[in-house]
């Protein structure tokens, strides 16, 4: 009884605190400026009472002035502004203030976004990195994630191809799953976004493309359990918070700015192929070396002008892509309402013909203080993206072995063939290129890319709507209640047409597939946060909340074949067969409650705890509890530190550590708990067949994350840095565990079986190296050293083999190795006497290989003369990958990071970003094709590097024998096609010039800036392929480090202007 009365009293007392303080009041006024005396609009002025209790807040108006009531209990005014150092001034005896805020030397005072709220960076005890919107704007990227490379410690971004709008490989502290997604959770303005490529055509469509990078205020990347646990079952891969721009309260007049650029892009690093004369000579020799292929003949013919045909196929496939981008935004706010509106248009052309990306988008953000206690606001963003391609570029996952693969076609086709016949018609022979005039005795099964580029298409159009609205109620200073409702609707139209005249559409007399897919998220989040300081030094903040998220997906479409008129090229036209395509229907639901408690004592000792309970419909065991705890210690605040004088060097020094358990369910199917029977057809009658094996015991993957480190500032934070050690133990990895095929299961049942860890160290350093009136140099360096190790797979499952486009398997994941290890057959060079490829079998014994074996000889022999039949330790008579391949090299990098420099000299600014990666290897499968001895064209190095005559020492490639696809590595992956992937890339260079104000005022322009920039300007690497970042398997977790028949990457130059009115 007594207890309850007391509680009641406390509650009532608390509710009336606001009023209690409002006793004898007076009004104080002041103005706030930056160091240069420029008035600061929208600076926050907080009146603090005893124990730092907030009694009132206001913001400065358009001229930087403020006016606020203080009482006799008020002690200090706290004046703060984003990016500047906060100041505390005593109100005692003063009624007018002139406050000058100094530029913050470090980013430690910044506010960072954490789950369901914000926090001062120096109070964060979890591990997080921040990237400013300005760093990623104005770049010729399609999505912001592409631009994060090298900008934050722990973050690895690999752009896998030059195809526009392909999602990058995005990893935070290593790859943290095998079969699920390892892409981090992206939360945009509080709403988890779709990620990945949603296109079902040959053009890529990153779901994040709807966010115009120019609209981004900041990106906060949460890495450890403490920072991510508030996202529970989706936190294992890290959480990335994207905050779009909002207007500033009190900024008065609307600010309008325009940014636009034009650019051009070219492929780089393409291999040099044999020309017609070289091809004739080299392939002629190869035929001469193979008596069984004497029927093969190559003939040079002339084109319509009487010149010998010598086609450089790359010229017909690659192009200089011209791009442009325009963005306009308007922002502003009075003392109650602020807004931000932007419109953007970008039209980009890629390095491959017909590959384009066009986006039109608008964004509107608004917040309005309806009354003292209520704030309402929201956002609406709409984007239309059109992604186009003619056909397979060869660079997207699954395309490596497409016959239409343009990159591959460009390398394979002989220069003797022409795209057009002399009468101007396409040179075709049914589905394939016409070759009868030039090649006989062997057939060419590849397509003429020119008619396909001209007539086919593979486009995806996206309409993406992201909107939210919130109501915030703040009855008293220490309590905030907020309810947010958000939607994310991703609507896609895929439009595929294959011309009937040749290529993929030939056998079906044309083919069209159109489908519509929609993916909808709705989310409703309710939070209550308490922020309270008591006894002067104890700061407590508590957040509790609940959230429900529903995701619906549905799709339907048509696949039609057999054009009824050759002039038709749309699905609505006349066709023979109507088949369904892209039928999908799914739904999942996530119901969560969560909480966070932060406590600090005197801003010296910090404790934080996060907890979340998730219930996910996709799992058999639905409920999971996830948590993270962290602690921090600001040592500079300790007496012994100042007594020892260390504070003269270290302006700040904070130790922190965290531990927790989070989960991963990203990419899990909607109905995995169920074993299902689904419908099919037997001669037109409906069937119901066993189709999928579920697991009603399936649960999330568990990540146990440990993290500790320190951050420091030296010389008044002129140099700041962070060092962290992390370890992430992942258990219960979900694997679709293959059962022996004789069990006859229709699918591999998902099981929580494997385990793996990532551990490492990350370092980041920020320095203002030079700071003077006319010249400054700031530098940011980060490095991550990561070790990945798979520790267990499923019982009975010793390895996971990951194929590239279902054909070639060069990745094998096994316990004791990092994931996706290269698994290839070793070679022992080329025999100098005979020019034969020497393979090493599983035991390391040399085996001589000849493609053509004369009578009495063997293809595989233990002697160079080919007379001794090779018999393997298991009785086989040939070298096979299954028997002889070894775990050869890791594909996971040991270290990666970036180095970013900004130089300012008067009105010039130069920004240079380098990214790097070390310690990984790449299987350059394309290289085997470049040296294949079928009719395929070869790289020019065969002229010098292939064995030609007796005594040729140290040759890379075997004696050319027509038809040989084994010695070069086409038939089985071999070590000569594995190369180090180490690189340093000059990722971005931007030079900008601020037009002097004196010139602008007359034109009524407040600022103007011109810039030129270059992307992928230079790569320093020994990797022989086009780019060590290019990869065949996209975001695949276990299929990294493969460069198989992929296209090149692009180098882009842009010229732009940025104007503020």
């Amino acid at each position: 009884m007594l207890m309850r009365t007391r509680m009641m009293f406390v509650a009532v007392a608390i509710l009336f605190i606001g009023q209690l303080f409002a006793q004898t009041t007076r009004t104080v006024t002041g103005n706030v400026t930056d160091e240069k005396g420029t008035p600061l609009v929208g600076a926050t002025v907080t009146v603090l009472g005893a124990d730092r209790k907030v009694t009132a807040t206001t913001i400065t108006d358009a001229s930087g002035k403020f006016s606020v009531k203080v009482s006799d209990k008020s002690r200090n005014l706290q004046i703060s502004y984003v990016g500047l150092d906060e100041q505390l001034v005593s109100v005692a005896g003063k009624s007018s203030f002139s406050v000058k805020l100094a530029a913050s030397a470090s980013n430690l005072n910044e506010v960072v976004v954490v789950g369901y709220g914000t926090q001062r960076k120096k109070e964060v005890t979890g591990s997080a990195s921040n990237v400013k919107g300005g760093d990623i704007a104005e770049k010729p990227n399609q999505t912001f994630d592409q631009a994060l490379a090298g900008r934050a410690a722990g973050v690895q971004i690999t752009v896998p191809s030059g195809v526009l709008n392909e999602p990058p490989v995005f990893r935070i502290r290593g790859t943290n799953s095998l079969s699920l997604s390892s892409y981090p959770l992206i939360v945009i303005d509080g709403v988890p976004s779709f990620t990945g490529d949603y296109s079902s055509t040959n053009s890529a469509s990153n779901a994040l493309a709807s966010i115009n990078p120019n609209d981004i205020e900041s990106i906060d990347i949460a890495k450890d359990a403490a920072a991510t646990a508030i996202y529970g079952s989706r936190a294992a891969n890290g959480v990335v918070f994207v905050t779009t721009k909002r207007g500033k309260l009190g900024s008065g007049k609307a600010k309008v700015s325009y940014d636009g650029w034009v650019g051009w892009q070219n492929a780089y690093g393409l291999p040099t192929m044999l020309n017609a004369a070289q091809y004739l000579a080299f392939k002629g020799q190869a035929v001469a070396n193979n008596p069984s292929q004497s029927a093969v003949k190559f003939t040079q013919t002339n084109d319509a002008h009487g010149n010998p045909i010598d086609t450089r196929w790359f010229d017909y496939i690659y192009q200089t892509g011209i791009s442009q981008s325009h963005n306009v935004n308007v922002s502003g706010g009075d003392d109650k309402t602020n807004y931000y509106f932007s419109a953007g248009y970008t039209s980009q052309s890629g390095i491959t013909r017909k590959n384009t990306f066009t986006r039109t988008n608008v964004l509107f953000n608004i917040d309005s203080k309806v009354s003292k206690a209520f704030t309402i606001g929201g956002k609406i963003s709409y984007s239309n993206e059109l992604n186009t391609a003619a056909t397979s570029s060869g660079s997207l996952p699954g395309e490596a072995y497409n016959t239409a693969n343009l990159a591959r076609t460009g390398m394979v086709l002989p220069p003797l063939l022409a795209p057009y016949n002399n009468d101007g018609t396409y040179n075709i022979n049914g589905a394939t290129i016409g070759y009868a005039n030039n090649v006989s005795g062997t057939s060419i099964s590849y397509y003429n890319p020119v008619p396909i580029l001209n007539l086919s298409r593979s486009n995806t159009e996206v309409n993406h709507i992201q909107a939210n609205t919130y109501l915030q109620y703040k009855p008293v200073n220490w309590l905030t209640l907020k309810s947010l409702y958000g939607i994310d609707y991703l609507l896609l139209n895929n439009d595929y047409f294959a011309t009937p005249i040749t290529g993929d559409g030939y056998s079906t007399n044309g083919s069209a597939t159109d489908n519509y897919g929609q993916y909808k998220t709705t989310i409703w989040t309710n939070t209550a946060s308490f922020d309270y300081t008591f006894a002067a030094k104890h700061n407590v903040s508590l957040l509790i909340g609940n959230e429900q998220q529903i995701r619906n997906s549905s799709g339907y479409g048509l696949n039609r074949q057999g054009l009824s008129d050759p002039a038709y090229n749309v699905i609505q036209a006349g066709w023979v067969t109507p088949n369904t395509a892209g039928l999908t229907l799914g739904q999942n639901y996530l119901l969560s409650t969560f909480g966070r408690l932060n406590y600090n004592f005197n801003r010296k000792y910090y404790l934080s705890g996060n907890i979340r309970q998730d219930e996910a419909s996709q799992l058999g065991i639905k409920k999971g509890v996830f948590w993270g705890a962290s602690a921090g210690w600001e040592i500079t605040k300790e007496k012994f530190w100042t007594n020892a004088g260390i504070d003269k060097v270290f302006s700040s020094f904070k130790l922190r550590g965290s531990y927790g358990k989070v989960g991963n369910i990203s990419g899990i199917g909607d109905f995995t708990p169920y074993s299902t029977f689904s419908s099919g057809l037997y001669g037109g009658a409906a069937t119901l067949g066993f189709s999928s094996v579920g697991n009603n015991k399936l649960q999330w993957e568990t990540s146990t994350k440990t993290d500790f480190g320190f951050s420091f500032g030296i010389l008044k934070d002129r140099l700041t840095g962070e060092l962290a050690y992390y370890k992430n133990n992942i258990d219960g990895l979900i694997l679709n565990v293959a059962q022996a095929p004789s069990t006859g299961l229709p699918s591999n049942p998902p099981q929580n079986v494997g385990s793996m860890y990532n551990k490492g160290v990350e370092v980041s350093l920020n320095a203002n190296i030079v700071e003077s009136k006319n010249f400054s140099w700031t530098s940011n360096f980060n490095a991550t050293f990561n070790t990945n190790m798979v520790t267990a797979l499923a019982p009975g499952l010793s390895v996971i083999q990951t194929s590239t486009s279902s054909l070639e398997t060069a990745n094998q994941t096994a316990p004791g190795y990092s994931l996706g290890y290269l698994w290839v057959v070793r070679t022992g060079g080329v025999d100098p006497t005979t020019g034969k490829r020497i393979f090493l079998n599983s035991a390391g014994t040399p085996v001589y290989y000849q493609y053509y074996a004369a009578a009495g000889q063997y293809n595989y022999s233990t002697t160079a003369d080919g007379l001794t039949k090779y018999v393997s330790p298991t009785g086989g008579t040939s070298i096979t990958q299954a028997a002889d391949a070894v775990m050869y090299k890791p594909t996971q990098p040991k270290a990666y990071g970036g180095w970013n420099n900004t130089f300012r000299f008067r009105n010039f600014e130069v920004n240079a970003l380098f990214t790097y990666q070390f310690g990984n290897y790449i299987y350059y499968g394309t290289n085997s094709g470049l040296h294949d001895q079928r009719f395929w064209n070869n790289a020019t190095d065969v002229l010098t590097q292939a064995w030609a005559s007796k005594g040729d020492q140290n040759k890379t490639y075997a004696r050319p024998v027509f038809g040989d696809n084994v010695s070069n590595g086409s038939a089985l992956p071999i070590d000569i096609n594995v190369f180090k992937g180490d690189f340093v890339k000059f990722k971005n260079l931007q030079i900008s010039y601020n037009i002097p104000k004196s010139l602008l005022t007359k034109a009524k322009i407040s600022n103007a800036r011109l810039y030129i920039s270059a992307q992928n300007l230079a790569i320093f690497t020994k990797y022989p392929g086009p780019d060590p970042e290019v990869a065949s398997n996209g975001n695949s977790t276990t299929g990294q480090g493969i460069d198989r028949n992929t296209g090149a990457n692009g180098r882009t130059y842009t010229v732009g202007v940025n104007i503020g009115f």
């Binding site: 429900q548 057809l681 119901l688 293959a738």
Partner: protein, 489 residues
């Protein structure tokens, strides 16, 4: 007043917090599939499952395409044109590896079919029969048993030594007879060839008892198993086991003693007057005891790179409807001078581009010609061969049976007992007749191997003698990797 308002607000928000959850969404309802727990709950679902067993058999990796194709291209009548490993260049070249597309694909599809049959039979016994009634239940189980038997038989033809090699004592297959719907059943050693054959015969005997005599439509009489289907398959199985007496016993159930040979019970199976009619729409003559139906609807035809027409018919440029993957071997059966030019079966051969092509399956993409599983002509020739081999005489009924098949296509040839100088000559003629009659129907390789004959060389592909490595296929690499008790060939 103000305080009261705040309390109301707090209460209101608090209530919405905890009342708006939609917990029912945590257990989603399947809308596009049926859960295994209710797959036997209605008559319609059970009927759908029966047809799904046929659909599994009809898969492009199995009787819808590759099983049949491989039976021809592994043998001697075709020449590989495109050297494409995806379309069986290695099968043709007699050197597929454990992880070859053909080796993996047939193994897994056949066992998927077997498991579906097992799951179905278990489900019927556990309650499905009660839903459909005992008569239909028995019919359905018999259909599953027949499909299971045919699947095991088909696997034996590629992955195990012929019965003749060691009288069935060689390693056969993992024998699975219980439905598997979860993990933990991978390990199982191979039973012997004899044990597998015993199971096949047991299933076919049971099927013969359980199957209906006939269906009400010609379509069902061809696309679903009836009693004569089980009997016809038994003649094939016993022939492979070289149990000629049993071939005769079974065949006699559905073949009259004298010409015209017909089945007098069950479906009135008989030869058609013109073989061409067997391979044209509606494909449901009484000669087609069992065929795989196709329609142009996606998923109801063999699918990419599995279609017989795609492999055997020349490309459009050469006047065909296929991809010209395999031409006819000029030195193969088409060179046989006794296969006269006027033989109607020569109409299945098209010459273009200097090569001969098989156009028995002429319908182009998406290749909807029915694929024959067993025809009445085979039963006649099975019986003929069994009679010759078991009597070791120039058996008059055998000659009559042979003549029935030959003479309907080649009016110029009429065989009589005096046509054959020896028993061996008659045996050879029967084998050659099979070679002609079933060209492109997947029987050739099995015919060579059941007799342990050398597969002749063709083009650049080597000959394979019964003692050579590679005479039979290696075991699926996936099976070896995941089934610790399974051994390779």
């Amino acid at each position: 007043m103000k305080t009261k308002f705040k309390y109301i607000m707090l209460l209101g928000l608090g209530l919405t917090f905890f009342t708006a959850c939609q917990r029912d969404l945590l257990t989603p309802t399947l809308q596009t599939a049926v859960s295994n727990t209710s797959a036997f709950s209605t008559v319609g679902r059970i009927q759908g499952q029966v047809l799904s067993l046929y659909a599994a058999l009809k898969n492009g990796n199995f009787y819808g395409g590759r099983y049949v194709i491989d039976g021809d291209i592994k043998a001697d009548n075709f020449i590989n044109e495109l050297s494409n490993l995806v379309t069986g260049a290695d099968v043709w070249n007699e050197n597929p590896t454990n992880s070859a597309t053909a080796v993996l694909g047939l193994w897994s599809q056949a066992y998927y079919t077997i498991n579906c049959c097992n799951v179905f039979i278990d489900g019927m016994n556990a309650g499905g029969t009660a839903v459909v009634g005992s008569t239909l239940g028995a019919n359905y189980i018999a259909e599953a048993q027949l499909i299971r038997a045919l699947s095991y038989y088909s696997l034996l033809q590629y992955y195990a030594q012929p019965f003749a090699n060691g009288a069935g004592a060689k390693p056969g297959l993992p024998l699975r007879l219980t439905g598997i719907i979860g993990t933990g059943y991978s390990a199982l050693a191979r039973s012997t060839v004899t044990q597998i054959y015993a199971q096949i015969i047991s299933d076919l005997n049971a099927a013969e008892t359980g199957l209906p005599l006939s269906y009400s439509t010609a379509y069902n009489n061809t696309t679903r198993a009836h009693r004569n289907t089980a009997i016809a398959l038994k003649t094939r199985v016993y022939l492979s086991m070289q149990n000629y007496a049993s071939v005769i016993t079974e065949a006699n159930k559905i073949v009259t003693a004298t010409a015209p040979f017909t089945a007098t019970s069950g479906v009135a199976n008989a030869l058609q007057a013109n073989i061409a009619n067997v391979f044209v729409s509606p494909y449901t003559t009484t000669e087609s005891i069992f065929s795989m139906p196709m329609t142009s609807t996606s998923g109801d035809n063999p699918g990419t790179q599995n279609q017989l027409g795609y492999y055997f018919s020349p490309s459009a440029a050469n006047g065909g409807t296929g991809n010209g993957e395999y031409s006819l071997n000029a030195a193969g059966v088409i060179a046989d001078p006794l296969w006269t030019a006027t033989d109607k079966r020569r109409a299945f051969i098209k010459t273009s581009g200097g090569k001969s092509w098989l156009v028995k399956y002429p319908t182009g993409s998406p290749y909807t010609d029915y694929v024959p599983v067993i025809r009445y002509a085979e039963v006649l020739l099975n019986l003929a061969e069994a009679r010759v081999r078991s009597t070791n005489t120039i058996d008059p009924q055998a000659v009559a049976l042979l003549n029935a098949v030959r003479n309907r296509s080649d009016a110029s040839t009429t065989y009589t007992v005096s046509s054959f100088a020896s028993v061996a000559a008659l045996t050879a003629a029967i084998l050659e007749e099979r070679n002609i009659e079933f060209l492109g129907e997947g029987l050739r390789n099995n015919d060579l191997m059941r007799l342990q004959l050398t597969v002749p060389a063709k083009g650049s592909a080597p000959a394979k003698a019964a003692t050579d490595v590679g005479y039979i296929w290696p075991i699926s690499a996936s099976e070896l990797a995941l089934n610790p008790l399974c051994t390779d060939n």
